[in-house]
Amino acid sequence: MTATVEIQNLSHRFDDFTALSDINLTIDAGSFAVLLGPSGCGKTTLLSVLGGFISPTQGRVLLNGEDVTHVEPAKRATTTMFQDYALFPHMTLLANVGFGLRMRGQTRRARNDRAMEMLTLVGLESSANKKPHELSGGQRQRVALARALAVDPDVLLLDEPLGALDLKLRRQMQDELKAIQRRVGTTFIHVTHDQEEAMAIANDIVVMNAGHVEDTGSPESIYLSPKTLFSATFMGETNVLPGRVTTINEAQVMIDTSLGPVSTFRKSDVNGDIVVGDTVQVCFRPEHVHINHPATENLQSLGKATITDHAFFGSHQRCQLLAADNQHYTAHLPQTSPVPRDADVGLMVDRGSIVLLKKTR
């Protein structure tokens, strides 16, 4: 089963700390959504509200259009997969996975059949009679998933389930989670602070910061056209050049910056509300920076710069460039391109990839 999740005007306060402020969000049935943000941004609080462990001070949560804001966890069509898995240490895997069905009054045979089915789904059918302490971290994670899915929830809530695993296992479990979600079709809402994990598994990413939603959308749209500076810097590295808009015409926006005039394409969907005279931030990603490239229509020159630091990072080389405004900018250059240390280079940036953000506050 699966359900649409709607969050309306949701706010929550702990004593005098505002954990969530005025959140409005719709998560489609059957999608794999990721709540992404730094620690303390409220993402786990939001998940607890969805799971019914916290009654919000304000606002509503709808599952398939039905208000469940104050329904207790046991009676709600959500299940939560906890960060530390929260397996029952004194029960076998079979009993763990069958626990939810036992509470629903199913016969031993029916619940054991279903539990075996779920253990098979996660590839642990041969360990059904083991206890959790006999398992590795990745296996425990799988049991927790099987247990949560055994009761056939409409929405599965995952609280940083991969945080305790090492990098290699994490990548592998990401692929598994994604495949299982596709198979069962349940709405997954997954919390993480790792933007790579978010991009690897999500259909929809919700970027959160300080209790509010900064940005929502597919991984591509958030990375390539972030709506806020926070979203731009949290989803990968970005260079920021402050400036002031001088001209706007049909096709282009001209900005005066400390590195001279910069022109970018006008994108009405992203920066339609920018007007002449606005103070803006010109953002561009390190992989869109080029050095000593022949000038073309699509490249914007940012003057001369000096490479002050340089490291090989496998698929690319990372350079720090000291530009004319005495600021450092980061560039990712191709794996094998020569890097002239301590010499002046021409600094250019892909015009099409520049994102203009209006400065707020």
């Binding site: 966890p73 939560t80 929260a86 240490p89 004194h90 509470m103 247990r147």
Partner: protein, 263 residues
């Protein structure tokens, strides 16, 4: 490295002296229970079991031993039950001044048994309750409940809160969670506090002495034997008390801590 070697010898010497210092009294007690003579004094004359025989055939001593066991087991069951509920309630509810309440429940651990015994004596006196095995048992519940609370509370970690939450999330009621999840998870510390409680009750003297009348416990009986002067039979009775305490602790170790280690 020779420095290392010297240090290690020093540590060994210190260990031997310290162990000697701590265990000598009990060692001497046990040794002279095997004394083949009428007085537990130097020199030690050949080992004999006759004093143990005398203890085991002394019906008053054996009666008091049964009393001790009765009081120890029943007061421990009550203390564990009360302590568990208190620990669970404090760990899982949003009560105000949690730290203060914990301190208040643990503080009696450091109050002298003499003071508690005095208080109980006066209270029972004021209420007109006659001394009996029941009053001793109540006294032992009073001293052991804070101990049981402290042990079980310290083992109720945040990890278990999440596990209980998961049970709720999967549809379990409060009672189902307590009975199917919390109690089994806490079994090691429940057993540990039970065994410690039994041990403490088993060889407690001052409360048992002040609150008893006709039916007495083993430590009180031994005290009575001391009035007729030192005697290897007293040593034998004391050694038996000690032996059973040690037996209980080893049992607890095997039942509880091995299990914890395995997990």
């Amino acid at each position: 490295m020779p420095g290392q070697r010297l240090k290690s010898i020093g540590v060994w010497c210190y260990a031997i002296v310290l162990y000697g210092f701590i265990f000598l009294p009990v060692g001497v007690l046990v040794l002279f229970s095997f004394q083949d003579g009428r007085l537990p004094i130097m020199p030690f004359k050949g080992p004999t079991l006759k004093w143990y025989e005398a203890v085991l055939s002394d019906s008053r001593l054996m009666d008091s031993m049964i009393n001790s066991l009765l009081v120890a087991l029943s007061s421990s069951v009550v203390a564990v039950f009360l302590g568990f509920l208190a620990a669970y309630g404090l760990a899982r509810s949003y009560l105000p001044a949690k730290g203060f309440q914990r301190a208040l429940l643990t503080a009696p651990l450091t109050v002298s048994y003499l003071i508690i015994a005095l208080g109980l004596l006066i209270m029972f006196n004021a209420l007109g309750v006659a001394s009996s095995l029941w009053t001793i048992g109540i006294g032992h519940v009073v001293i052991n409940t804070p101990l049981c609370f402290a042990i079980m509370y310290s083992q109720m970690g945040d990890h278990q809160i999440t596990i209980e939450r998961a049970a709720h999330d999967l549809g379990a009621s409060d009672f189902q969670t307590l009975w199917l999840i919390t109690a089994p998870m806490m079994m090691p510390s429940i057993l540990a506090s039970f065994f410690l409680s039994v041990t403490f009750s088993w060889d407690e003297f001052i409360i048992a002495f002040l609150l008893s009348r006709f039916d007495v416990t083993l430590p009180v009986e031994i005290w009575g034997m001391l009035r007729s002067g030192l005697n290897p039979k007293t040593n034998a009775a004391g050694s038996l008390v000690f032996l059973i305490s040690v037996g209980l602790l080893i049992l607890a170790e095997l039942l509880v801590f091995r299990k914890v280690k395995k997990q």
